[in-house]
């Protein structure tokens, strides 16, 4: 085939970049996302992941969390509050470790070498993997919550639909955030061990900055509350935690004096928007940086 015919089939961009300008990048994205879902559904991590989140909801029902009362919360609201707290503890590390293991693992095992020898655009490949992976990490978490809610409907337990909707959006934002971080780590790290180690350290730092380091710094250095709050607002885990807390504790009594800074600066609605937008932005930024790295360096 001549160059002209070849170029007519899949035209290059004016700059001669790797990404085609026609709809083939979107088509590739969709195909790769489907492929990633098909791969993940067969992976052991996905089975464990689904069982863990489904099991949590089953356990919450089994231990009659819907019957217990705390801060005035009862029924499904109580279950959702507990579920969201547990998700905050385990979802980030699950997403980070499974993402870096499977993406960096694929690179190490030669999957990249083969699949990236097919005429798939790098953008379609990278973002397709991100979208496919988002589906497989978010859907089990959502499905467990939805199953619990469905059960509550059958049992005629009142369902707080606004809480259900907000928690769904929070979880999606949190999953996207750590997925983006995981993709960045996977793009830069050249081996599974390094990627997994880096992912664990990132998670640990964010967890430590939830309370331990944050409180320690505040007490020892006598930093201004605004500075400590700025740290907290930069930590997506803390943002999620405070946002979730805000839904059942509108005055943020549990948070102490920091609540004044947060509520004065954001207001309740503003902070809920921050809880959704900030982790999503962090995830997107990290994913974009990861793509930039991925595109400019060795692929396998």
């Amino acid at each position: 085939m001549s160059d002209e015919a070849l170029l007519a089939e899949r035209p290059a961009t004016a700059s001669g970049s790797a990404e085609p300008t026609d709809g083939s990048a979107l088509r590739d994205l969709w195909l790769v996302a489907k492929l990633d879902v098909a791969e993940s559904l067969r992976a052991r991590w996905f089975a464990v992941y689904s069982v863990v989140f489904g099991g949590i909801v089953a356990l919450l029902f089994a231990f009659a969390v819907t019957e217990s009362r705390i801060l005035g919360f009862l029924g499904l609201s109580r279950l959702l509050v507990t579920y969201i707290q547990i998700c905050m503890a385990i979802l980030p590390i699950f997403v980070l470790v499974t993402t870096v293991r499977s993406v960096a693992g694929d690179r190490e095992a030669g999957v990249f070498e083969y699949l990236l020898a097919l005429p798939v655009s790098l953008g379609g490949w990278y973002w397709g993997r991100l979208v496919g992976r988002f589906a497989v990490v978010f859907l089990p978490v959502f499905a467990a919550m939805a199953a619990g809610t469905g059960w509550a409907v059958l049992q005629e337990i009142p369902v707080p639909w606004h809480l259900f909707g907000l928690y769904t959006a929070f979880l999606a934002a949190l999953a996207w955030c750590f997925l983006g971080i995981g993709m960045l780590v996977s793009s830069i790290a050249r081996s599974v061990d390094v990627a997994q180690g880096a992912a664990f350290v990132i998670w640990l730092v964010l967890v430590l900055f939830l309370d331990l380091i944050l409180l320690g710094v505040m007490v020892q250095e006598r930093v201004a509350p605004e500075t400590a709050v700025a740290f907290a607002l930069a930590n997506p885990l803390q943002v999620f935690r405070t946002g979730a807390m805000l839904l059942f504790d509108p005055e943020l009594v549990l948070l102490g004096p920091s609540a004044f800074v947060i509520l004065d600066a954001f207001g309740r609605t503003g902070y809920l928007a921050w809880t959704l937008g900030y982790p999503a932005a962090i995830g997107t930024l990290c994913a974009a940086l990861g793509f930039r790295w991925f595109r400019r360096h060795d692929l396998p």
């Binding site: 001549s2 195909l31 095992a109 070498e113 005429p119």
Partner: protein
Amino acid sequence: MIGATAGDVRVSGLSKAFRGTRVLDGVDLAIEPGERVALVGANGAGKTTLIRCLLGQYTHEGDVSLGGLAPRSARSQVLQRVGFVPQLPPPLKMPVPVLLDFASAVCGSPRERMCEVSVRLGLAPDSLGRRPFAKLSGGQKQKLLIAVALGRETDVLILDEPAANLDPDARAVFFELLAERAERTSMLISSHRLDEVAALVHRVVELDRGKVALDDRIADSGSLAVRLACRIELARPEEAAARALRAWGLREEAGGRVFEGTLAGPDRLRFLGTVSRYSALISSLELRQAPREDA
């Protein structure tokens, strides 16, 4: 590149280093359309790195182009016309139909065409149901990867020890498939042993520590699709020899003393290598070019 022809492979001053270690060091190579080149060299000579540069997977110094386009900057356009078979099948967990659907969609080639190639190699993809690719045998994986590479229009084939896991019948079909596109497709066939690929190529390029150590044309190896009628008589029946000859698809007669059948022409050197292990037992050996059997 203006004036370049599809199937042209041009490598100029190609260098690649990993953490300060130079794996390719100023490699120059030109492959004309329709040319079949063996890429040989010891482990670590730089064969895989060169292949990955040709596939646009590595950053590098120097220039690489296929059909006049750089695979790094125009990868989709270039790879649309390149078929690749890796040395080691990737551990894909996806079911076989998902892999075929994906490959046919991104390559823009009907899935049926890939399935036809696979069937010719002796593997009907439909018979595998939804088995994960990773659970197939080595030979089955290799046949599917060859089917994906050859089940579409390509100008360049990059094959990394492609026939290593194939049985003799499948190897013969594989050589026929290569012969069918030999006139219009450039081929780069990598192996760490020249005898594995010598009969398939016109030219041998040997890499040694990242440099081209040898670039030589070899005597015309004849048609890739030629078949050889083979007859071997042993001085006495011997189970080890019989097992080896049966593995080549030869029929056993006269109580294990005579073996007959056909071989793929390009396999003659490999076959003689096998037979040489039992040379003391052989009382007669005949290899004759056979008329091509209709399928």
